[in-house]
Amino acid sequence: MINKLLGIVPNASEHGYLVDHFLEFCHWFMAVLFVGWSLFFLYTIFRFHRSRNPKANYHGVHSKASAHLEFSVVLIEAVLLLGFGLPLWGKRVTSDSFPDAGEALRVHAIAEQFAWNFHYPGPDGVFGRQSTEYIKVSPIGLDPNDPAGKDDIVSKNELHLVTHKATVVEITSKDVIHGFQLQHMRISQDAIPGSRIPVWFRPTVAGEYELICSQLCGAGHYAMKALTVVGSQTEFDTWMKEAMTLQHPELVQPAAAPAAPAAQ
């Protein structure tokens, strides 16, 4: 409720509602504290204004109320931490939380100044080898001699996903640190050059979303976004096929061959 009031963007992933609930909880907790404290504060500065209370009380408050209050703050924070904070993150990053290799759609996201490259393994399901040697040949340095890479798809600033299908995105960067943030999916992970870090989620709502670069990466940072298209498996397959025709016409069934020149 508070979240809505504050204008949170709608959630479109399976785990996202957990994050939202948690955030909601935090906001209620903060609101209660703040309102309580403010009422006390306003009453006090009114009641003990010099004109109403000319002589201060040297001994001040003796009640234990503040200790109780502090204790309950500690308690609620402990609940937030142990009940939500720790388990939620555990469910995002540990080995048993990740979807099985066979089940998931796997994508590599390779950031650069100022664009996102997405790398799909293609029909064989194996990612081709990458090396900086081939960086002039392919934007992600795909090794042209590696058979596994012959059918790989590379798309720029366009990420296609399937509803209700677990997705693992492995995120890295070619140059500086970028941030992979899909706010509707409640997903965020820095793209750090030198390491390849996986995140996983399961989109639930079909639609088009904006992928935000969440780390300052230079002059073009503000405009470094990518389109995320979430659709059904068939829609995804159609797109995949189109991409295949464009990028690897030689691999596409002869039947489709006449279409290829038109597409180019």
Partner: protein, 636 residues
């Protein structure tokens, strides 16, 4: 000066030290510029800091124009800005008007706003200026322990200021990788320009000087507080402000050096071509980058945040200290839970060294490490709650007089409350992944530093100005300044929470015009984008609200109401010195007989009993000083 007997007369060595410089007037240079007097140095720090605070604000005003009106030239002063900062920062807009902030210019201004506000504005004022001016007076010392090092500290700081300022005018402009200077971005930034003569390298060099200045200062502060307390000034009789400064000095002393190390690493990366922060296989602009590789960009982040988290408490603790002084004085009663508060700041300081990675939640942190940092981060909010609660309960039963310092100090409480509370959703990994690097974070920390620390600083300025100048600031102008600032600063920062929730990210040159989702989300009748205009307008008005203050500040130096030693009927020792205090501070020996906040002592004649009043004249208990000091020696 001959008449002024040091409180430590038994220590003075007539043969060695009774130098003639006490008898004849020092020259202008030694008195005002290269002075070793802590009060002069404090004022130097203060004026430099205020100037930078204002400068940092002006940078932000230009940026706010761009955020609200992307792509439009800054009106009126656009041409001037262009000729001052060059066309790299200010290009012509589409309509041809000169002075449109460029993306690089925006990033440079943003990075410098952060750097200047934190390291050249707040720390010099809240820590160095007030610490220098007030602490020795409050503990009854004649000066700092190392006056020459104190002077060196200021001049080191001054050099760092020069570096930062000239960096605006070198090819490519000032540093533009955020105040956090994350490599590899910072490592490759400006590398097309001369090795030394570029924004990022000058930033690093400036920071190394700034850090050195802070280290010299903090050694001095700690030594002064330990060694130069007047007779009878036991640990538990220290005003809370002194405690806050003591702890702050330790934070600076121990947290800054790792950043210095990191700064040296980054300088090596830029100047000697090393790859401390450069991983293997970097590709920049389609070319393999000229580094051997093998480094790690995360190393910088660890070393940076190892400083920068304690640094945020450096920003707030002196503020809380000043607020405590002002509140005690204006409620006319002792601070509630003094000992708990002292304990709380020690816990806060200790914990602040082990929470830094909460700024790095999105760097790929596993469950165990994340659990550790989430837990410590939540734990650190508890001492803050204790501090704020104690200050609020102090109000209860008081006889509150709303002088201008008190207005600012009172407003500090809820403002810091908002800032602190919104730190909580950031403290959890799972919620931070939604909020990270959005304007929610921007609003969070501005609430603690702007209406938080800046208000505390204003409270401090209005409170101690009479001691420094012998004159009081004008009340009416002060009230105008307060109410206008309070209103506009809230209109300025409150909508940022909404923007953040709606997905508006920080460091966006066009204020999010690129993003559909931001213009889709309507909050309280405005889209995320439209709030930009509201915020920017509030920022200009906030600037306007400072005019009465700036006028008051200079006008009152000459024409303010003259006051005596103790205009606020205060208990602490600094009010026993003349206003302004002379060289050597006190004109009579100081000895302390009671705690810092003996206001409205039952049975006393006045509603305040100064710490220096001998016990015979009052029925105030000369508390069990011996046991007191012993227990502190042990616990601290």
């Amino acid at each position: 000066m001959a008449a002024i007997t040091s409180p430590h007369a038994h220590e003075g060595d007539a043969h060695l030290h009774a130098h003639d410089d006490d008898h004849h007037e020092l020259g202008f240079w030694q008195k005002y510029i290269f002075s070793t007097d802590h009060k002069v140095i404090g004022i130097q720090y203060g004026l430099t800091g205020l100037a930078f605070l204002f400068f940092g604000f002006c940078l932000m005003l230009v940026m706010r124009w761009q955020l609200a009106n992307p792509g439009q030239a800054v009106p009126m002063i656009g041409g001037a800005l262009q000729s001052i900062f060059g066309t790299a920062a200010f290009a012509a807009s589409e309509t041809g008007a000169p002075g449109m902030l460029t993306a690089d210019g925006y990033n440079a201004f943003g990075a410098m706003h952060g750097t200047i506000m934190v390291f050249f504005g707040i720390v010099p004022i809240a820590f160095a200026a007030f610490g220098n001016f007030v602490v020795p007076l409050q503990i009854g010392a004649p000066d700092m322990t190392f006056p020459k090092i104190n002077m060196a500290s200021y001049w080191c700081f001054f050099i760092s200021c020069i570096f930062m300022l000239i960096s605006f005018f070198v090819p490519g402009g000032a540093a533009k990788s955020g105040w956090t200077s994350y490599p590899p971005l910072a490592g490759i930034a400006d590398s097309a320009f001369l090795t030394f003569w570029n924004g990022q390298t000058l930033w690093l060099t400036g920071m190394v000087f700034n850090i050195t200045a802070s280290l010299l200062g903090s050694v001095n502060f700690i030594a002064t507080i330990i060694q130069l307390r007047a007779p009878g000034m036991t640990w538990m009789r220290l005003p809370f402000f002194v405690w806050a400064q003591f702890v702050t000095a330790f934070l600076l002393l121990l947290a800054f050096p790792p950043l210095e190390a990191a700064g040296i690493f980054q300088l090596m990366d830029r100047v000697a071509g090393t790859s401390f922060f450069m991983p293997t296989g970097l590709v920049v602009n389609g070319n393999v980058a000229p580094w051997a590789g093998g480094g790690s960009p995360l190393l910088w982040q660890h070393l940076f945040w190892f400083l920068a988290h304690p640094e945020v408490y450096v920003l707030i603790l002196p503020g809380i200290g000043m607020v405590a002084e002002v509140i005690a004085n204006n409620t006319r009663k002792p601070i509630y839970g003094y000992k708990a508060m002292v304990g709380a700041i020690f816990v806060l300081a200790f914990l602040s060294f082990v929470v830094w990675a909460h700024h790095m939640y999105m760097t790929g942190m596993g469950a165990a490490v994340a659990a550790f940092f989430q837990t410590t981060t939540i734990m650190i909010s508890i001492p803050s709650v204790i501090l704020l609660t104690a200050l609020m309960i102090t109000l209860w039963g008081g006889s509150i007089r709303f002088t201008v310092p008190m207005l600012f100090a009172a407003a500090f409480l809820p403002m810091f409350g908002i800032g602190g509370l919104t730190g909580i959703p950031l403290a959890f990994n799972a919620t931070d992944l939604y909020l990270h690097d959005t304007y929610y974070v921007i609003a969070h920390f501005h609430y603690v530093v702007a209406p938080g620390t800046i208000f505390a600083i204003f409270a401090g300025i209005y409170y101690w100005y009479p001691k420094a100048t012998g004159r009081q600031l004008n009340e009416l102008l002060g009230q105008i300044h307060f109410f206008a600032s309070l209103i506009f600063i809230n209109v300025l920062f409150m909508p940022m929470f909404l923007q953040g929730m709606a997905g508006m990210h920080r460091r966006w040159y066009d204020g999010g015009a690129q993003y559909e989702q931001l213009s889709k989300a309507v909050v309280l009748g405005h889209t995320g984008l439209e709030w930009n205009t509201v915020i920017s307008t509030a920022a200009y008005l906030l600037c306007l609200a400072q005019v009465p203050f700036i006028f008051n500040f200079f006008w009152s130096m000459k024409f303010g109401k003259k006051i005596g030693r103790n205009p606020w009927d205060s208990t602490t020792v600094e009010w026993d010195a003349p206003s302004p205090p002379g060289h050597g501070n006190f004109d009579k020996p100081i000895s302390v007989h009671r705690g810092p906040y003996e206001y409205s002592v039952p049975g006393a004649d006045a509603d305040f009993t100064p710490q220096t009043d001998p016990p015979a004249n009052s029925k105030a208990p000369d508390q069990d000083a011996n046991t007191n000091s012993q227990s502190v020696e042990k616990q601290h």
